[in-house]
């Protein structure tokens, strides 16, 4: 009798143990399935569509690289990626420079530091749609700065970059920097504060001026942070869609087209899903060009740090 009872409880214990080893995996399963579908299946799917005969409707028969050829022969795609290079370079450099200046200013033992930081960083909380809309009103000649100058009595004032094909992309840069420079500031400031204070004191004792200390000691010490911010901002630039959609809608004409806008247009406005998928693959490749070397570099640095203690 007792023996049978023991046997049963032992079996129950065994079951409990087995359940305990499997519970974590079972709970993880939905996420794993979702991730496999989202990351792997979706990527392969889009890749396949880019190689298929699909135009308006999906047609999964193999069509070769014709969509890529068509894409690269399209003048609009050239405008889109040229804009991406121009926008990306100016937006990233601009945000980094502005962010560094702000971080250094805030680092001067100022009063009400939290308030200043809050003001510089808040644009990041609001959507690109709101940012784009607000800047559109500011930059549009009839509502914005031009009208203000004319109200003030300067009747011939013109400031119409946003409707000027050659200048509109700089409006996107301006709005983008407004949104992202606070982010650069937050990370750079955190970096500046994590630098060993003794280094600074030593430099001070040596009689170095503050400007020199920032240039020679503090800023070089946080190079990894600059690199991280650079990579993140490049990522933002490559994915830019909402900001352009809200600010210029890609116009005037095609002047501010960027790849993400073009993908949307091809897929959902022109019924060219094959070519749209090819353009999406190009965006993925651009991201990989930025992220893969950075990931490898990070791993290499971690290994080196681990090796040197």
């Amino acid at each position: 009798m007792t023996l049978a009872f023991d046997d049963r409880s032992e079996r129950r214990l065994l079951w409990r143990n087995r359940l305990a080893t499997w519970t974590p995996r079972l709970v993880l399963l939905p996420t794993l399935i979702a991730s496999v579908v989202y990351v792997l299946v979706f990527t392969l799917w889009t890749f396949w569509i880019s190689l298929s005969n699909s135009t308006l409707l999906p047609d999964l028969s193999y069509g070769g690289i014709k969509h890529y050829v068509a894409l690269w022969n399209h003048a609009r795609w050239h405008v889109a990626y040229t804009n991406l290079f121009l926008f990306g370079a100016l937006y990233v450099t601009g945000s980094l420079v502005l962010g560094t200046v702000l971080a250094i200013l805030i680092d001067q033992r100022i009063r009400a530091e939290a308030l200043w930081r809050t003001i510089y960083l808040y644009p990041l909380a609001i959507s690109f749609v709101v940012t784009g809309t607000a800047w559109r009103w500011i930059l549009e000649p009839t509502t914005g700065i031009q009208q203000m100058l004319r109200n003030l009595g300067w009747e011939s004032a013109t400031f119409d970059w946003i409707i000027d094909r050659d200048m509109a992309i700089y409006c996107v840069v301006l709005a983008g920097m407004w949104q992202a420079s606070g982010f650069a500031m937050a990370l750079i400031l955190a970096g500046l504060r994590s630098v060993d204070q003794d280094l600074v004191k030593a430099a001070q004792i040596d009689g170095a001026s503050m400007a020199r200390i920032y240039r020679k000691v503090l800023l070089p010490a946080i190079r990894p942070i600059f690199l991280a911010v650079l990579v993140i901002l490049l990522q933002f630039a490559i994915k830019t869609f909402d900001l352009v959609a809200a600010l210029t809608g890609g116009g005037p004409g095609l002047a501010t087209n960027v790849p993400a806008i073009y993908v949307y247009d091809l897929m959902f406005q022109r019924g060219q899903i094959g070519q749209g998928a090819a353009a999406a693959i190009m965006i993925l490749l651009a991201l990989a060009v930025v992220l893969v070397p950075y990931a490898l570099y990070t791993i290499w640095r971690q290994r080196r740090e681990a090796a040197h203690g």
Partner: protein, 300 residues
């Protein structure tokens, strides 16, 4: 990474003569003010114009001292303005955004907590690979997922529904929430869990009694990150919803950039401010956690 609230234990400007010190302080504050104006100006201008009369704006543009102030634009934006076939202001779209962002945030955060807990404290062979794989979702550009999502939503009967958007944002958010929570839980000492296991506590009991009570900081970071991200999303909203099913972002674009003969700039301005309010409030009240989410999501 150090918190940005740390204060320097020396004053960088405290070198040189007293006069020079005053001059450099004055310069610092002047520059800070100038930049503050640049950052506050766009939202300030929109806010101001949301209280102006339409003819006044039409005559003088956005940059002008208002002749009169009125609450009418706000009333219209909230209750009666016609947009996408409905004449209830932006309320329906606002509601859509809430109905989309709240469940998607809760579900993705709940899964993120469990995943992070498992991937840090119940590791098994291959769990590091699982983590790496899930994290890849952070980098995948949305453009790569649009066609597959269109197919999935179509076949599930979820096209142009709030449920479809909830599904998209939940799946997309899993990568972020898992990343955040795993990197947070990994710092909880193993001994704590080992002791609990020796005492016979199981998976759920340890989660409830040890992990959850330690979680509030990371839950706040994750919820803020997810909610603002989902609320502010435009691409999925504009692709997968239309008419009165749209979230506020795509409705706002339809309102302010749509083809109409007469612009209602003041109502549009009020609607723009309304769209910005939820994430702004979160930022103002949870700023510390917002910044922490940024640095974690960004650097790791």
């Amino acid at each position: 990474m150090a918190d940005a609230t740390l204060v320097r234990d020396f004053d960088p400007l405290a070198t040189g003569s007293a006069a020079r010190r005053v001059r450099s302080k004055a310069l610092v504050y002047a520059l800070l003010t100038l930049f503050a104006a640049f950052y506050l100006l766009p939202i300030g201008i929109v806010l101001l114009n949301s209280f102006r009369e339409l003819p006044d704006i039409a005559r003088t543009g956005f940059f002008a001292v208002p002749e009169t102030l009125t609450l009418q634009p706000w009333r219209e934006a909230l209750t009666s303005f016609c947009l996408a076939g409905a004449c209830e202001g932006i309320r329906p779209f606002y509601l859509n955004s809430i109905l989309m962002a709240v469940p998607a945030t809760i579900i993705s955060t709940a899964f993120g907590l469990l995943n992070g807990y498992i991937l840090s404290m119940w590791r098994f062979r291959g769990s590091e690979w699982v983590f790496g794989f899930v994290t890849l979702g952070v980098f995948l550009p949305a453009q790569m997922t649009l066609l597959p999502w269109a197919y999935v939503l179509g076949n599930a009967g979820l096209t142009n529904t709030i449920w479809g958007l909830i599904l998209i944002h939940t799946v997309q958010g899993l990568a972020f929430t898992t990343l955040f929570c795993r990197n947070y839980f990994v710092n909880i000492p193993d001994d704590l869990i080992k002791a609990a296991r020796i005492d016979g506590a199981g998976f759920w009991r340890i989660f409830r009694k040890i992990v959850l009570p330690l979680s509030p900081p990371i839950v706040i970071v994750t919820v803020i990150w997810q909610f603002t991200g989902i609320w502010n999303d435009f691409l999925y909203g504009v692709v997968f919803s239309s008419g009165d099913r749209q979230p506020i972002t795509s409705a706002l674009i339809a309102l302010t950039a749509g083809a109409t003969s007469v612009r209602h700039h003041n109502v549009e301005a009020a609607a723009t401010i309304l769209a910005a309010i939820p994430p702004l409030l979160i930022y103002l009240f949870g700023g510390k956690y917002f910044v922490r989410g940024l640095t974690q999501g960004a650097v790791k």
